[in-house]
Symmetry: C6
Subunit: 233 residues, 6 copies
């Protein structure tokens, strides 16, 4: 029997047999404005409030303040959760990324009994692979692929269920690293379309190991309380 980690996101858990497989690595991919940050925050908030699981949001991009502002729009008070040591926000500058970044994340997670980790984002990580990584005197697609592989693979030692955000400009863009989709246990893909002035977001579970996952495209709503996944059947 696979132990499941409930996201608590409305309408989502029943698509994946009740939740993510415990301690799996989930890729959350999508173009801008598809709701990736809100989805990831909702996952952490629910962990902290409903399932008694501490969480950490690692960001290489946004300032903590921006993140907190976004959270506030959904009535989520990150400051309070931080004070209560339920959720940590850790901002790492891209230029600080090093071989040890993943180890430091794991230690922080262990020291704080963290069970849910969000990484924002793999895309930024891929651009900032440390030049001293490996003893290979070159930066190419293989060294980048390898760094990303090792990063995700080592995160498994954290004894936490990890969500890794991957952002792209267009559905077919070149920022894909060709390894994160392979190494992650699950892929949740968010899309965004606008037609005639109307916006529409949707969600697709593209892969989920050890799970008979739903394979339909579902409308995704960003409500005032967070994300809602709809079922059109």
């Amino acid at each position: 029997m696979i132990e499941r980690v409930k996201t608590g996101i409305k309408g989502f858990d029943n698509l994946v047999e009740g939740g993510f497989p415990k301690n799996s690595a989930i890729l959350l991919s999508g173009t801008p404005a598809t709701g990736k940050t809100i989805f990831a925050l909702d996952y952490l908030i629910n962990g902290a409030k409903k399932f008694n699981e501490n969480g950490i949001y690692i960001t290489f991009e946004e300032k903590s303040e921006n993140l907190k502002n976004q959270a506030r729009q959904f009535g989520w008070n990150l400051d309070e959760l931080e004070k209560n040591k339920k959720i940590m926000i850790r901002q790492i500058s891209p230029s600080e990324i090093s071989k040890n970044t993943v180890k430091e994340i794991i230690e922080t997670a262990k020291d704080n009994k963290i069970k849910r980790i969000v990484i924002d984002s793999l895309s930024t990580l891929a651009i900032n692979v440390p030049t001293t990584y490996l003893n290979v005197n070159e930066m190419n697609e293989y060294t980048i692929k390898r760094f990303i592989y090792a990063f995700i693979d080592e995160l498994r030692l954290a004894d936490a269920t990890v969500m890794l955000i991957s952002q792209s400009i267009a559905e077919d863009d070149l920022s894909r690293d060709n390894v994160s989709e392979f190494v992650c246990d699950g892929i949740v893909h968010l899309t965004f379309e606008s037609m005639g002035g109307e916006f529409s977001r949707s969600l697709l579970v593209r892969k989920m190991r050890r799970t008979k996952n739903d394979e339909d495209i579902h409308p995704l709503e960003i409500s005032e309380n967070g994300v809602v996944v709809h079922n059109i059947k």
Copy 2:
């Protein structure tokens, strides 16, 4: 609540909830003759004249004199604004581009209380990545990508709202660096078509973080007073 920086460009700000998010980095892309320079100048002029925000125009390409001539056609007196320390024009030769270029821009901006920065252009920057950049003995797509990423990312330290011009020959050309669209917070794309001797310019907001941006294509007019974005609904 996101603080907004009004461009003051006629018809534009209402497409992006009142203005660019404060201190964001905006990519202004387009083929030649789409009006990128005028758009950027209009943004600086309005900052200086209407919103009391000092601006700087960093150019790796045009001579200041050409820029001033162009401005004059719209009744903008850059010499006067320069004298009053409202707008600076800084011409940097491509061969002078170095690892420290971004730091020098930031210092100049801080010393002069500059709140609006225009970089003209990322394309020239990408071709002239310093060869001593990184300790990697090679110039390839990854070192270039990384330089551009770091350049834009470090500019965020300037406490200013930055507009970065990217010029391309054709809509699908190879001068794209595959990273600026990803790292910028917003993308404003200008296009230009001529049919039967008639010219037509248009504008599209392709991305704007923390903003519910308009997603239509809008006619763009270069009037005698500057840029006008029309709404065809």
Copy 3:
């Protein structure tokens, strides 16, 4: 007369003249959720239980515990088979992969009279080629190709029939190494489709040296007792 190794998988052996050619290397390829792990376990279980051939499952990916859990769903008790030295499970961390990995596998196989080897997976192996492999100061598609070639080729010294799992994200993805299909003696390809909420798996023997193999696409069922290959004629 070619000596055959029966897989014991229901409906499969008659597609390949009674079994895999003895001591051949078989590639088992497919996207996630196509049943590769179950197929490989079924092959080992049958070896141990019906044909008196010891087996080993080398994994660079899953924890032994996950593997045992999966096996349990089909009524297979790997713990017991391990205790009886019929089946070994060896978990090797990707970061431990070295030039000697293949030699160590061969020694273990010989020491334990192992006749069936499963490698899970070639894909992970390809990403983690040791950087000290060859005296070539570079990691590129040729060094990777060469490592995989040597790995599979040297495994032939093990005096065992080897099944190598190759996993891909999509049917046409970039994780193909362009050499494993060439060097293996046989290729069994599993696919997975879902239409209108219905899942369907299938199997195709794409290559089998020294064998007049069936060339049809066959429905594949994951029953409660293991894999069943159906014949639709």
Copy 4:
């Protein structure tokens, strides 16, 4: 008001508001036999004879003698113009191309009060980038791109209006350097077609900075007095 340099080529100047912007760099591209050499010579001849502007023709390809023979077919006496110091012809062997080539061209131009420069061709320049260029131990598309960029950019110091010939084998060939179209201020593209034994040449202004240029395709005639651009409206 932009100062204009009249080409004097029949039917051309009115396509570009009266002439090239003064001191701009114009790319003249086309497959063989499209008339690029004649077009460039016509530009120099008119400068010398009608507009009192000295010119220089830098060739990495043709022998001066071939060039003079071609000119003679149009009644142009280059020998005489050379004697009167109105037009210089400078033949540089591809193997002599060095980092200093552009500096030497600029000095020659200044010493001889030259206002019109023709470079024949960028294509040959790109193939013969000096191997000691940059401190990068490698010749690749980026070092080539950079050399061409710097070459064109530095030529702006010559205080002359420059025409750079780029020749290609086919409309879509691989000899494009992906940077000259970007860095030049204008692009004049010549094409050539033969149908049923009939030849037809045409001209298109693809780009012209600081100019509202015509955007139609125009028939191009090589008459006995030089080039004629026709207007089919």
Copy 5:
């Protein structure tokens, strides 16, 4: 008059004016199971038995034993032919391939008055190019191309007619080396198709220097006595 080397393969020699040009290098290409090994063995067997030409089969892949087993199915006794010094089988491990491999093959051929050489296969050779080949510190498509070129070209010194097997996974696969087809004097291509459970093999002479070769696709039969090329006209 070109001297011809009869293959003795039923139905083949009349497609190429009586046989291969003496001392030419012939590429025998095809996907697995197309009959390349049988075709090559048939060529050697006929040389030994009918035309009094000694042969050697160099294999980097199969064990001699497998080869002999395959031969036995067609009533060919390689052991006897080996004993009589009519046919040699030389197995070279891929890891033993070196700069001197070709020289050793030539010496062996000369010492044993060998007139027919089979190389099985070029594909394996290409993957195992020695890393110390050339003084170029890199393994890339050009060093591989060059090794294969030199290997085939030097084999011409053997005073023998050489057949080089090239195997590919699919008709359009990436294992092609882009040089063997160019440097060989002839190309015989075998294909294999199965439709509705029926197998069909065919043969096409794609190139044969100094020969007016047939250019049709011919059915190929693997009979119990060896290969038969049919003529459907």
Copy 6:
């Protein structure tokens, strides 16, 4: 007036205003069996017999003997022409190709008052670029391109009209060097098709500098006296 070098090939010279421009470099391209060797020999034979121009055939591929055998089929006695110092045949082994090869060819040409040079082939030259060429520690498409460029360009110093053979496997193959078509003054392309057992060869002049060349595809016949170009109008 351009001086013309008559090929003397039946039906050809009138396609190019009477002959090749004197001292030009002509690329003769085509797949195998298109008649390139015969065309080149015919050009040399006619020079020697009809126009009193000595010729040399440089081959990196065929043995002189093969070449003489081919010539004999057309009644051409190369031995006699060699004895009379009208035509030289020089066989250079690919492994002997060095930086000085072109200089040695030029000296030989000058010493023997040679006016027609055939190089067979550029394709072999491109594969065998000397590794010590340039001070660039790498063999890649740019070093190859550069070597071929310099080779052809330096040959112009020979005071002879040069024909360079380029052979390819297929019309669209990868052996094209992307520079020879650009640097040569003319391109004569031969093709070969077989339909329904009937062969058909054809010729197309794809480029000829300083020449208003015919642009039609012409049937090419290999008669018993040499090449004949037909005119189907």
